[in-house]
Amino acid sequence: MNVACRIVDLQEEYIKLFNDQLPLIQSGSPEKMNSLREEAIKIFEEKGIPSNKVEAYKYTNLQPYFKGSLNLAFTNEAAHTDVTQHFHCEVPQLNTYNVFLVNGWFSAKDSDTNLPDGVVVCSMREAAEKAPEAFEKHYGEIAPTKEDSLVAMNTAFAQDGAFIYVPKGVVLEKPIQVVNIMTGDEDRLAFQRNLIIVEENAQLKMMLCDHTMSAQRFVVNTVTEVFANQNSVFDVYNVQNQHNLTTQVQGLYVHQKKHSNILTNNLTLHSGIARNNVGVIMDDEQCESHVYGLYLTDKNQHVDNFTSINHDKPNCQSFELFKGVMDDSSTAAFTGKVFVAKDAQKTNAYQSNNNLLLTQNAKINSKPQLEIYADDVKCSHGATVGQLDDEAMFYLRARGINQDESRVLLMFAFAYEVIEKIRVEPLKEQIRGLVEKRFRGEFDKCDSCVVCGQPGSNASCL
């Protein structure tokens, strides 16, 4: 069922909406999801949509974006299954297992026969049946519902999303690609909640590709929880490719166990207002985490990457690199919290954030935040802001390469370090190409689905 609502005062209306629709919200959701809603909505009621007075949201006042006339779907009719038929992979080397979500609802997936035994890929609504123990144990336990009002809002409202379970010892050769599509003729607010569990000695590489397929205004609140058990290897590449009228707040929260190795990479190629929260908790010894991001902005786009990495136990390592190339009067922010607990000795934590500003009007706020309570640690952090190097420009031009092309080469040179961190070779190739296109101004967010070729003629584009 679709509900159109007009939000002026935020909390009041959202709370009323929640109370009015609670029976629908609960209907068909796993019990565990429902059991957390009441507390979550209280937290949301107390904190509300963050303005820039909230320290963690200092550089992104979200209140205006959650106001106005928006549609919400409380049943899965929003999951227009026909939409997904237009998607087909045009990167033959990139053999993936595909999952489609439309407006936050699970819509379609490839046949299960393409998955190794025991691997579960399904709607969150089926998760409690297909992997009851794991779902019960981890749902809602990883994302910071108490600390972040948008996570609380998601926990209260979310009804669907993708669930992935990789059992002990299973190594997925094929990456799983979760394609999130926002579409339809109405301006829309959507919630999506994903849960990924990678058990002991298991390995999973996945992509989260965020798209918009119609020119409406979209507000998306997504929370993805990841549990990486002992010795597991987990990669997630979030490729954002949304039009300028999109506001996306998303949280990616990873909980790591001993000897696990995780990688997150937020590749924001095109967006309106994007707030990416990445939270990693290393709650056991010998964990390794790689937290990367690349944001390419122009016009009046805004990207805010907010990361927090917790070293709770000794002998863990974290590597963090975010880079941004910013044009026109776009703005961006980066916050890198690194917390090292008192007994987390022998911690290695490296962080850097580098920005290339192409105009005087582009703006970046970069803020490292180190909180270190152990004494035997190696931590470094650095932030840089620079312009295109005139000497390098001249060198290229002196070889006959025109000014525009030289700019593209240098912008790409700046960004490539983050692309090189991609541990899925065909995806790396694909992202290289897309980033280059973006720099050339040839990037069409509508006709180039990031990983799958999305024919643009099927959607009206902004």
Binding site: D390, A398, R399, G400, I401
Partner: protein, 250 residues
């Protein structure tokens, strides 16, 4: 081929080139020598179009075209090449991509189609051999982590790839060991033809033993204060610049 008339250029209100006159004909090799800070590199920068410097007076024609009117890239496409005194490192731009782009931009300018992948590989292979450059280097980013000598070799490699009509070699010999010097000089000589000209900027006679100049000029305080045949280089090697400075001040 190149005619420079009363060229004046400045940077930040400081006049560095103070009336340069020079004419270079096809096939000629001109050496430019002179003390540190005389303006040799500035002259190369101005000729190749570095916007850091402002031309305040004078004219330069290159094969009949008004050179100062052209963008740096068009000067390159017209056949001008500078082997930089201090080649810059560009991490993230691969040598292969850089060279392919440069070669194709030259071809486009001449109205030719882009080079095929196999022809390009062959071209790279041939030119690498010519300057005896390590394949590992051309698989890396432009000059990134290259030693001083390797950077200079890489400049000559690029020159060989682009086959310019006028090459300006700004202290290409500095930082090269004896073998590399010979290789680089050979590379330059192999490209020699009755149509191609070279400006060799150097402090040492050594290079001129290999690349024999038709003329030697001394640049001092932004002017060419002496021009003669190749014997001038030997004389300078022996006596230094003091006598020229003295002559000039008088």
């Amino acid at each position: 081929m190149l005619v420079i008339k009363d060229l004046h250029a400045k940077i930040e209100d400081k006049e560095i080139l103070r009336g340069i006159n020079l004419e270079i004909k096809p096939g000629e090799v001109h050496a430019i020598m002179g003390p540190n800070g005389a303006g040799k590199s500035t002259l190369s920068s101005v000729l190749t179009g570095n916007e850091k410097f402002e031309v305040v007076d004078g004219s330069v024609t290159f094969n009949g075209k008004d050179l100062l009117d052209l963008s740096p890239e068009d000067r390159a496409r017209e056949g001008m090449f500078l082997s930089f005194q201090y080649p810059i490192e560009i991490p993230g731009v691969s040598m292969v991509n850089f060279m392919r782009t440069a070669v194709n931009e030259h071809r486009k300018y001449r109205g030719e189609d882009p080079i095929s992948a196999s022809d390009f590989l062959k071209l790279m292979r041939d030119k690498k051999k010519l300057v005896d450059i390590d394949s590992n280097l051309t698989n890396r980013s432009v000059n990134e982590g290259f030693s001083g000598g390797e950077k200079k070799k890489n400049e000559i490699f690029q020159m060989a790839m682009l086959e310019p009509k006028l090459a300006i070699l700004d202290e290409t010999d500095s930082g090269l060991d004896i073998d590399a010097l010979r290789v680089v000089a050979n590379g330059v000589n192999k490209l020699k033809s009755p149509e191609r000209s070279t400006i060799v900027i150097t402090h040492y006679q050594r290079l001129l033993d290999y690349i024999v100049p038709d003329y030697v000029h001394v640049l001092y305080k932004g002017r060419i204060v002496k021009s003669a045949g190749k014997e001038l280089a030997l004389e300078l090697e022996e006596k230094g610049y003091d006598w020229i400075k003295k002559e000039f001040e008088d």
